[in-house]
């Protein structure tokens, strides 16, 4: 392991350890907030991998969040799965859905791909809304027995879900970091910087994109399953919400800095800060977010983290290769 | 000598961090043909792009009829009287032969050169007017590119690699049109790899090497050997 990677590994481990101990010193509301931040950080890092590295601008990631959530509910309610065991299964199902959609959507030229992912998400949502045994449009709740199966006391349950979110958030962060530093990551970076050249250098663009799309779909499904395990309720509108699971995530990444892992993290933190500040103004923060995203795209494509990097010349998560 | 029609003074330019031209100067007189020669990568195309404003250049580095045009936008130059026949022809593939000419005529200046007049100059184009421009042979495409420059009724045409990839016979055809073009009062800067040919055609010559002018003066002053030496940077 190189020195920089060692530093990152130690840093992440320390942060994870501190956050894992949070239940003993943080309040309930704080735990919920950190948990939510973790889930959004994971979604942001994943979307960034997709759009910022593989050049697949998806506005349909809500398909996999909802699918993951529904999958967990179905496993638990219909097949008596222990909720925690349903999480990997949710990833599997979401990944499989990704594998079905990818070959179709990859046929769409350029920016039409984005709209295609949206149609895919709408299609999945409509299918779930049409199934009466899943509560159709109204959705369903986790039965008390299943909730109890997570852990006996409410406090312990909340802690368990918190740890799960923490594990997923940090897992995605570490996993994507390792991926980008790996040989496959080199291909992804080449793809990001110059798709044509990457192709001529022997990077198989189609397959690289396919596996990225698939992996991101699976991980997004896992995140979705835990999000709804915490919420204990799911409906098509909540599960497949474009705003909650994709729009906000996109703006986080864009504002923080697309094509950089740090950008996704910084963007997540900025979003939560903004939300706390503007919480009294209803949906104003969505308008603010949209405007900020547009301004970033117009004037500083690499986002806030890009500015930091240029000004200070350092990065938190060095990824071996020089950029730009 | 009279005031030059087009003059380039101490022009430096390039692509991003890469500087390709270093203080290039040249003058094109009214009704004259200037030959621009140099090895591959010498900066000839770059010079044209800089003159046209496709690459950065300072305001007073390029003068036209005594006025600085360094801050004139590319798209306004054709109405001012400067057009280019780009390297590799660059015909619009969604437009037919006739439409390529029509477009340039509509966005250029009015005058004696019209698409019909081009069809007289190159009769083969008249027969193929409805065909997609890029379905023509290379030589025919070069004729369209030349025609596209003419119909703007310019004062100056910048010809980049006018005979690249064409059969010698076709090159003769294309060059046969030159005196006619010049006779209608159009001046030209001609980039050409065939040094001897351009020496005979042009009134004066400029030789570039690695982004710098290494030789310039009236064409008849130079022997072929001198030019070849300058060309290779010796």
């Amino acid at each position: 392991m190189s020195k920089s990677a060692l530093r990152v590994a130690i840093g992440l481990t320390v942060i994870t350890a501190i956050l894992a101990a949070a239940p003993w010193f943080a309040g309930r509301a704080d735990l919920r907030l950190i948990g939510e931040i973790m889930s959004y950080m994971a979604l942001a890092i994943l979307w960034n991998l997709l759009a910022g590295y593989a050049g697949l601008v998806s506005v349909g990631q809500q398909a996999f969040v909802g699918l993951g959530g529904y999958c967990l509910f179905i496993c638990v309610i219909w097949f008596d799965f222990p909720p925690l065991a349903a999480v990997p299964l949710a990833a599997l199902v979401a990944g499989a859905a990704g594998a079905i959609f990818a070959p179709l959507l990859f046929r769409l030229e350029g920016a039409y791909f984005a709209v295609g992912t949206w149609v895919a998400a709408e299609t999945v949502a409509l299918i779930f809304a049409a199934i009466p045994s899943l509560g159709a449009g109204a959705g369903m709740s986790l039965p008390t027995a299943a909730v109890k199966a997570i852990a006996s006391s409410r406090e312990l349950r909340e802690w368990t879900v918190y740890w799960l979110l923490l594990a997923i958030g940090m897992g995605v962060l570490g996993g994507v970091y390792l991926l980008i530093r790996s040989k496959a990551g080199l291909a992804l970076m080449a793809l990001r910087d110059n798709p044509t050249a990457a192709g001529s250098l022997g990077v198989d663009i189609w397959w690289t994109r396919f596996w990225t799309y698939l992996g991101v779909a699976a991980a997004t499904g896992a995140v979705g399953s835990v999000i709804f395990l915490q919420k204990l309720r799911i409906s098509p509108d909540a599960g497949f919400s474009l705003n909650d699971w994709t729009a906000i995530v996109i703006f986080m990444v864009v504002i923080g800095g697309i094509g950089r892992i740090e950008g996704a993290i910084v963007g997540t933190l900025i979003y939560f800060l903004l939300r706390e500040l503007l919480v009294d103004y209803g949906t104003i923060y969505l308008i603010v977010l949209g405007l900020a995203g547009i301004l970033v795209m117009m004037f500083s494509r690499s986002g806030l983290w890009g500015i930091v990097e240029r000004r200070l010349g350092w990065s938190l998560l060095p990824t071996r290769r020089l950029r730009e | 000598m009279a005031e030059p029609l087009l003059s380039v003074k101490d022009l430096s330019s390039g692509y991003g961090d890469f500087q390709a031209l270093f203080g290039v100067s040249l003058e094109l007189q009214e009704n004259a043909i200037l030959g621009l020669v140099g090895a591959n990568g010498a900066g000839k195309s770059t010079l044209f792009k800089a003159i046209l404003g496709l690459l950065p250049r300072a305001r007073d580095m390029v003068n036209f009829r005594g006025k600085p045009i360094g801050n004139v936008k590319t798209e306004d130059l054709s109405r001012l009287g400067i057009v280019m026949v780009p390297e590799g022809r660059k015909l619009f593939r969604s437009l037919s032969v006739e439409e390529n000419l029509q477009l340039a005529a509509e966005y250029g200046r009015k005058g004696e050169w019209t698409p019909d007049r081009v069809f007289e100059l190159f009769p083969i184009l008249g027969q193929r007017r409805r065909q997609a421009a890029t379905s023509l042979s290379g030589g025919q495409q070069q004729m369209v590119a030349i025609g596209r420059a003419l119909v703007a009724n310019p004062d100056v045409i910048l010809f980049d690699e006018i005979s690249l990839g064409l059969a010698p016979i076709v090159v003769n055809d294309v060059y046969a049109a030159m005196p006619q073009i010049n006779a209608s009062g159009i001046s030209a800067i001609v980039v050409e790899q065939d040094v001897d040919r351009v020496r005979k055609l042009s009134h004066s010559l400029v030789c570039l090497n690695e982004g710098r002018v290494v030789l310039s003066g009236p064409s008849q002053d130079f022997t072929k050997a001198q030019l070849t030496a300058a060309y290779f940077g010796e």
């Binding site: 295609g116 299609t123 697309i258 795209m297 | 046209l52 780009p86 437009l95 703007a152």
Partner: protein, 286 residues
Amino acid sequence: MGIAEAIVQGVLLGGLYAIFAAGLSLVFGVMRLVNIAHGDFIVLAAYIALMVVSLTGLHPFASLLIVVPLMALIGYGLQRFVLERTLGEDLLPPILVTFGCAVIIQNALSALFSTDAQRLSAGSIETDSLQVAGLSIGVLPLLTFAIAVAIIAALEFVFFRSRIGRAFRATSDDPETAQIVGVSTKHVFGLAMALSFGVMAIAAVLLAARSSFDPFSGPARLIYGFEAVIIGGLGNLWGTLAGGIVLGIAQTLGAQISPSFQILAGHLVFFVVLALKPRGLFPRMD
């Protein structure tokens, strides 16, 4: 409602979808840009029409005299001052900028007008119908279809026969050379967007006269327009009309099976076409 009537209705509905699609397709054809906020701008135009009608008392169709130029102006400005800066090799910035526009329009409209459903009242034409061969055909859908055909014919003419159309095609082929020839590519892109927005305004009034809308009705309009484009085949406006018709029929037949199946049927047909004929049913021959 019988199958025959459902099919006729689907065909006519396809006309509306073709109008949604036409603006989308035009902009993609000229600058390879997909306006994710296409549907939201249609809804914005519908709200503008609503205001114009309530302020001036004009008939909704007459309000187009104001709404079309206004939308064209908005489109030109959006392209010249916002999107222009983001065009380039990288596809991402324009997608994200228009996506930002979508979110802003939706939330701004709901802040200004609430999320209540609105409707433009076009008078008796809304309910009038003709009896043809035992089928009842609505006058408004029929008119919409006729307008769709007229719009597509006009766009085809502009694109392939006019001076600005030549500039559109030339700029789309090679912007740098177009500039050398004397075309201001920024202006041309602005005009293409203006044209697209003008068509959106017409779509908006026709939509608002036949069904209610709210600030969040936009995305579905984008999606139907997009599906019509892909089903019909890129770069072919008449194909887009055919794509709209196929989508319309799929939806009305789907609704026959079950109301909840209407939209889904359209999506499924879209995916089937994508699987079997990825270049669309009527790809351009070149």
